[in-house]
Amino acid sequence: MGKVFRFGKDVDTDQIIASQYLLYPTIDEMKAHTFESLDKGFSSRVNEGDFVVAAENFGCGSSREQAPAVLKALGVKAVIAKSFARIFFRNAINIGLPVIVCGELYDIVSDGDEIELDMDEGCIKTCGRDIACTKLPPKMQEILNQGGLIASLNREV
Amino acid sequence: MGMTMIEKVVSRNVGKAVKPGDIVTVSVDRVMLDDIMMPFIVDKFREMGFRDVWDPDKVVLIYDHLVPATQVDDTRHYHVSDDFADEQGLPHVHRSDGICHQLMTEAGYVKPGDVVFGTDSHTVTYGCVGAFSTGIGYTEMAGILGTGELWIRVPETIRININGTLPSNVTSKDIILTIIGKLRADGATYMALELAGDVVDGMSVASRMTIANMSVECGAKCCLFAPDEKTAEYCGVELTDELRELRADSDASYAMTLELRAEDFVPVVACPSQVDAVKPAAEAAGTRIDQVFIGSCTNGRLEDLMLAAEVLKGRKVAPYVKLIVTPASRKVYLEALRNGTIDILAKAGAMITHPSCGLCCGRAGGILSDGERVVATNNRNFLGRMGTSKVEIYLASPATAAESAVQGEIAWRKA
């Protein structure tokens, strides 16, 4: 179980992590600024295993991999949205942050609700209901299962 | 007994003869306020209980340290300044025209014999046209804005005579660095410098500006050059008998007199991290560098850029070395565009940034990291001035800087 942090539609990469922090030497130095313009307290309130839930087009904008990386570094278990922008989606999978497409969840959960995600079954449990979510394509599931693209690179070598 | 130049300028201002050590109250002819200090000045001005600026025409506001803005809060300084200018009806505001000290002389705000204060230590620059000018803090500036006056202690003077013929590869930057090396960083504290001799007579106002600018690095309160034809032309004034009189009497009394032979000067560098750690460039030659900066109120004028272009023409900046050129003012940039200097510098590989304090004040424009070395034409090589405390800054002339950029190591132009 993890807590829901609910955001709207078109949450762009600049809101996830603003440009002025991207050249900081490490992700750990950036992560306190996650969602700074939308929810200043996010980084201090989020706990290991929590979820980010959003509407359409989550992660649109730049290719900055810092965006999924800071979410992962803060312990976010998965991002569940109605749809994702493609570079964010790809980046998230590559670093091992699950990104789940689910049309229904956004409209029935509130900020702070507890939910549980079963990726193998493609199912989210909330408020006593089970909601189906899209399973990842096998290629991406394979990368995730390996622990991200770097892990697969090390294995191939 | 005769008077030194500073004694004459102060006497002229206060209407009575003064001598070193006197504490007198001067009437201020101009003040320069820069963007980085403005919010503090305005706060103090109000806190002191003032409502109106004593004479709006005598106030010049210049945005230069924070242009362009690099941090979100920088723009607050513009707005506080704009609001104050509107409220007080200040007619002279420069929002992106260049570095304050360049503009004060170039735009005609300072004339020979004037008494001028600014909230920046390099306000000493205006001595190049025979004005008494010096840097003060923002609290005193707030006081001047309210009263038009400031107390000063009349300084003793160190006289420096430079006669003879300079080697062709020596610039006025080499001269002032050499002087600072001799006097040490506090050798002229509380005192005025006064320069004279053939070499000074032959110098452009721009070259004198470089010397006056850096006089604060040996602690000087000001550094004066007697007004001559060049000064008059530069300032757009007539060289009246009254201005001719603003030179030291032959029987003036000095704290010290230095006689320097022009032929003895060589290109020099100030080594990290003291402005007075000066040695011949030849002794530092071969030191690998990462960056070169040509600009600032010390050496960002047309003659400096042209000198750099002369060195760089048809050559390229060394691989992995960055050359950053920042003209001192919009006027300098325009003139350098028109006469092809910018073209030469850009083709050699220079990054040319908009006129501002930029890298010299360490807020932007080429900040460096641990272990990196820079050769710079500006005025300070203090620890941490351009990045971390592990950055090494060498100060040099535009010619030395340009040659070093090409070589990728400290190098100087042969005579």
């Binding site: 359409e56 730049s62 570079i87 770097i150 | 803005a69 690099t70 723009t75 565009l337």
Partner: protein, 415 residues
């Protein structure tokens, strides 16, 4: 059945005769571009690999353009890491010589290539018929090590352009109008392919601007048919196409749009989203604090000419900051030679060295809380140019320049 341009390029890169939208293919890349926005992280990951190696260093192009010259010690450390790695591994490094995509256009991109860039606007390369797409640093690292990557073949949206743009209407207005039509996610995961009789009237600069902004509709890439104009651009620069792919007549498109260029009017994208597009005439009362002409979208010589034409003989409105930033050193030098920089400087603009500047929002020209910017940059997201409480409008070069003159949003015909 036939293939689209995107399908043909991916098929060639996958070594197959035919691919279809929805297939996942392993492709060999022609170039991998990375800039200072993420390269420091790529290097950290590279150094942690079990067996780090680079598949083909000649395919790597590294460009320092986002925060250049460096604005802080943290930036300087990241730049140093990138520079040192490039030096040790003999990777081509461009530093301070322009925005990455413009450098790629000027020196590398050829029709038929498949290029990864660690920057979302890599989709710009379609202007020359190359499949460019933005990736994160992990994807980049995988490609750097293996020379390959996997790619989902995108479905294609086809845009047939007809006629030509009216006077005063720009490519920027066209692509913003298209983004409004299909929405900010309307091309998510898809390719946008442009052709039709109207293409011939668009300059290479126009085409780059259009393809560049395709990612703002969510597209994986933007692609233009390669015509004589594109081939002439390449020939001028001594490059030859890898292969020119035209779409098959019976290619399968997800949707086909017919666009009459004469219907397009000057528009602006209002805060805080790129598809929040309205006719510029609807925003005439919006007061601005800053205007920005530059970026990989609109920092080319054609854009500077358009801006200079508008501002020549006029002045930037008081208190408005107008930043003009050529997209590359080549553009800068040409603009200097054509007298454009002089025009901007005379008008009171701030001319900066080629870099990402205001578009990137953390290096120069940052805007403060409550301030409004009109920009030719790529994005108007909340906080994109500085404070989260600021406002960014996107528009064409003439509209931005006219707004700088008026101090509020205006089109050039209003002057």
């Amino acid at each position: 059945m036939g293939m689209t341009i995107a399908e043909k390029i991916i098929a060639a890169a996958a070594g197959k005769s035919c691919v279809r939208a929805g297939d996942i293919e392993t492709v060999t890349l022609d170039y991998m571009m990375s800039n200072d926005g993420t390269t420091h992280l790529t290097i950290d990951m590279y150094n942690k690999l079990v067996s780090p190696h680079i598949s083909d260093k000649d395919k790597l192009i590294w460009i320092v353009d986002h925060n250049v010259p460096s604005d802080s010690v943290k930036t300087a450390a990241s730049h140093k890491k990138m520079r040192d790695f490039a030096r040790e591994n003999d990777i081509t490094l461009w530093e301070g010589r322009g925005v990455c995509h413009q450098i790629m256009m000027e020196h590398y991109v050829c029709p038929g290539q498949l290029i990864f860039g660690a920057d979302s606007h890599t989709c710009a390369y379609g202007a020359l018929g190359a499949f460019g797409t933005g990736v994160g640093c992990t994807d980049y690292l995988y490609a750097m090590v293996t020379g390959q990557s996997w790619l989902l073949v995108p479905p294609t949206l086809r845009f047939n352009l007809h006629g030509q743009l009216r006077d005063g209407v720009c490519a920027r207005d066209l692509i913003l109008s298209i983004i409004k039509m299909i929405s900010a996610s309307g091309a998510s995961y898809k390719a946008m392919e442009f052709g039709g009789d109207g293409l011939a009237s668009l300059s290479i600069a126009d085409r780059i601007c259009i393809c560049n902004l395709c990612v703002e509709a969510g597209a994986k890439t933007g692609l233009m048919e390669v015509d004589d104009k594109a081939l002439a651009y390449l020939e001028e620069r001594g490059r030859v196409p890898k292969q020119v792919f035209a779409p098959d007549a019976d290619a399968s498109y997800e949707q086909v749009y017919e666009i009459d260029l004469e219907d397009i009017v000057p528009v602006v994208a209002k805060p805080h989203f790129v598809d929040n597009v309205v006719p510029a005439s609807e925003c005439r009362d919006v007061k601005i604090d800053e205007a920005f002409l530059g970026s990989c979208s609109n920092g080319r010589i054609e854009d500077l000419r358009a801006g200079a034409k508008v501002i020549k003989g006029r002045k930037v409105a008081p208190k408005v900051r107008f930043l003009v930033v050529p997209a590359s050193k080549e553009v800068y030098i040409q603009a200097a030679e054509e007298g454009l920089l002089e025009i901007f400087m005379e008008a009171g603009a701030i001319v900066m060295n080629p870099n990402c500047s205001v578009c990137w929002g953390s290096c120069q020209g940052v805007i403060g809380a409550g301030e409004t910017l009109i920009s030719t940059g790529t994005r108007n997201f909340k906080g994109r140019a500085g404070s989260p409480d600021s406002f960014v409008y996107l528009a064409s070069a003439p509209t931005v320049t006219a707004s700088a003159v008026m101090g509020r949003i205006a089109t050039a015909d209003q002057l």
